[in-house]
């Protein structure tokens, strides 16, 4: 009590806490500098994105209409729409997800949780890491060789979806492994010590706990697949199509290909149509992200 009083008394502007220290000043200056640099960079980025968005919106908004969504592409800009490419994109992405999600998460889980340590595991891990960095056009060539030719799926939506699936498989595997790795070891120990098998531990605790991490990665990967153009051109997505795919073996086109096609045309109207197409693509990605956020929050209530 007495000490406290004493402190109160000389709470003036003196004492060793008030001394100037050049060392501290320098460190403070560095910290401030660092903070400002980071802030500048992030503002710059946001600014660039805003500019791009504004550009796209101002070009594309006037063309956005129900007709735009329900018409096929045409030689006349005012009659053109994205029905074929929108449906094509949805088909491709559905196939991509059905293929890459179970395989990717399964492989990631196996590699991280169940596979015994050893040379083989190291080799596979290394290869997957490398595959994640391979340019997408290479996957196009791979898809052409495997799905179009060897499996004889032809230039169908199935070939396209599987090719994109291959493309995002390494990403999903890596993200799955990362998320699984972030699950505390103590949870595994707890469950194992209760007489659970490795698989039960994974199924009931490890996978659910890492759910949101895996989901985030999957969304990123799927977003990338939606926007992919080059490999699809290689496996034979065509630009002009006047019907929507009815089966996985039908021909197709996708939004990015349609956009790419329009941008390449001389007429200004087609460029604006491309902008409208980009807006639809953005909307789809936004929707997917929204679903992810909702799922994540619902899950977070149940786990920790």
């Amino acid at each position: 009590m007495a000490r406290h009083q004493e402190n109160q008394d000389n709470s003036s502007q003196s004492g060793f806490l008030f001394e100037e220290s050049t060392n501290l000043q320098r460190r403070r200056l560095l910290a401030t500098l660092f903070r400002r640099t980071c802030r500048a960079i992030s503002y710059l980025l946001v600014g660039m994105v805003c500019y791009l968005l504004w550009d796209v919106f101002s070009d594309g908004i006037p063309w956005l209409s129900w007709d735009f969504l329900t018409h096929y592409a045409s030689r006349l800009p005012e009659k053109s729409g994205i029905k074929a490419s929108l449906f094509g994109s949805l088909w491709v992405i559905a196939i991509t997800i059905t293929f890459a999600l179970p395989v990717g998460i399964g492989a990631g889980t196996y590699l991280e949780e169940l596979m015994p340590e050893g040379k083989l595991k190291d080799l596979i891990s290394l290869n997957i890491q490398n595959l994640a960095g391979v340019p997408s056009i290479v996957y196009g060539i791979l898809g052409l060789a495997i799905f179009v030719r060897t499996f004889n799926f032809g230039t169908s939506v199935l070939s396209g979806g599987l090719t994109l699936g291959l493309l995002i498989l390494p990403i999903i595997i890596i993200v799955t492994r990362e998320s699984l790795r972030s699950v505390p070891q103590s949870i595994r120990q707890a469950a194992l010590a209760m007489g659970a098998t490795e698989w039960q531990v994974v199924k009931y605790y490890v996978l659910p706990t890492s759910f949101s991490g895996i989901l985030t990665g999957v969304i990123l990967a799927v977003s990338r697949a939606i926007g992919e153009t080059a490999p699809l051109i290689l496996v034979g997505a065509v630009a002009y199509i006047r019907y929507t795919p009815d089966s996985p073996l039908d021909a197709y086109t996708t939004l990015p290909i349609q956009i790419y096609n329009w941008v390449g045309k001389p007429k200004q109207e087609f460029h604006e149509l491309a902008a409208a197409g980009i807006l639809v693509l953005l909307a789809i990605m936004f929707l997917i992200n929204l679903v992810a956020i909702v799922l994540r929050q619902r899950k977070q209530k149940t786990y920790i």
Partner: protein, 322 residues
């Protein structure tokens, strides 16, 4: 000697209902017969104090309940033979030999890094998770080699439960924390009843009975640790391994866990690692002192603490190193 006498009499600090005729483990009767006489006299008095105050030291010497008395002496519960453990190149345990009898509390003491946790974890094969772990020699549980390639570690863990140093509830409800293990192991029991009895045994029931669906993480550290103990006993194991179960807790919670352990010692064999000499002295019937992966000395706790045979033991328990 004085202290050990006190601890010994503490055996009888137990609810009146359970206080039927009880005898000490036969192998210990010899060295403790003197104390025994004393204990019987003070027996009744202690019961009264037990009922009057919660603060009583409920300590436990090895106790064999009526049924298991006959077979407890005949064969070892756990038989460690020439066990050497490596983590990669690093040798953590050097040709260890130890016999562990059932229904005793064994305390493992020794300085940090001497291999206590490693040793404890090999009984339920938790070390299998660590890459580079290599065990030579054999550990027999009721005569069966638990490291035989034909033995499924899952089955070992079902019989030998574990409580960890840091409370680690599963990320799920309190109820499921307890019921999950028995359920996946196909125990046919009434889970509501099981959860209740386990929580009661762990002295947690009154605090959580209205929120069994709450996440286990929403409990305090001490409560979480008791939940972990409840979870371990829900599996009805024969042995419970405890790796410094009180080290992450405040003194009051630690005390409660200690009381709980001595209560559990009546039904289970307990192997406990501790850095707390008093705790080892209060809780255990046997103490094993380890150093650099080897057993320096082991024996009845009161003997080891009052008249250690080795200079190293004397130094360690008197706090000269460690």
């Amino acid at each position: 000697m004085d202290t050990s006498q006190h601890h010994y009499t503490g055996t009888f600090h137990s609810p009146l209902s359970q206080l039927t005729l009880r005898s000490t483990a036969p192998d210990l009767v010899a060295d403790m017969s003197l104390n025994h006489a004393h204990a019987e006299i003070t027996d009744k008095k202690n019961d009264l104090t037990q009922n009057l105050s919660v603060e009583t030291t409920t300590t436990s010497e090895p106790i064999t309940t009526g049924e298991s008395q006959e077979n407890s002496h005949t064969d070892s519960l756990l038989e460690v033979k020439d066990v050497t453990i490596h983590y990669g190149q690093n040798c953590a345990i050097k040709s260890m030999n130890l016999n562990i009898e059932s229904n005793h509390v064994y305390a493992f003491i020794g300085p940090s890094g001497c291999g206590k946790s490693t040793f404890l974890r090999c009984f339920n094969r938790m070390n299998d998770l660590i890459s580079g772990f290599k065990l030579e020699g054999s550990i027999k549980y009721r005569g069966q080699d638990i490291y035989s390639p034909l033995v499924d570690p899952v089955l070992v863990r079902k019989h030998i439960g574990m409580v960890f140093q840091k409370p680690n509830p599963l990320p799920t409800s309190i109820y499921k924390n307890i019921a999950w293990g028995p359920k996946i192991n196909g125990l046919k029991v009434d889970y509501d009843e099981l959860v209740e009895t386990c929580l009661k045994k762990a002295a947690l029931w009154d605090q959580v009975k209205d929120r069994l669906s709450d996440n286990g993480y929403h409990l305090s550290g001490g409560q979480q640790q008791r939940l972990c103990i409840a979870r371990a006993i829900a599996m009805k194991p024969e042995i419970i391994l405890m790796d410094e179960p009180c080290s992450a807790l405040d003194p009051i919670s630690a005390r409660k866990i200690e009381e709980l352990i001595s209560e559990l010692a009546k039904d289970y064999s307990i192997l406990i690692v501790t850095h707390n000499m008093q705790q080892a002295a209060r809780l255990s019937g046997h103490t094993v002192f380890m150093l650099k992966g080897e057993i320096v000395e082991h024996g009845p706790t009161h003997q080891l603490f009052s008249s250690p045979k080795h200079q190293l033991t004397t130094d360690y328990i008197s706090g000269k190193f460690g």
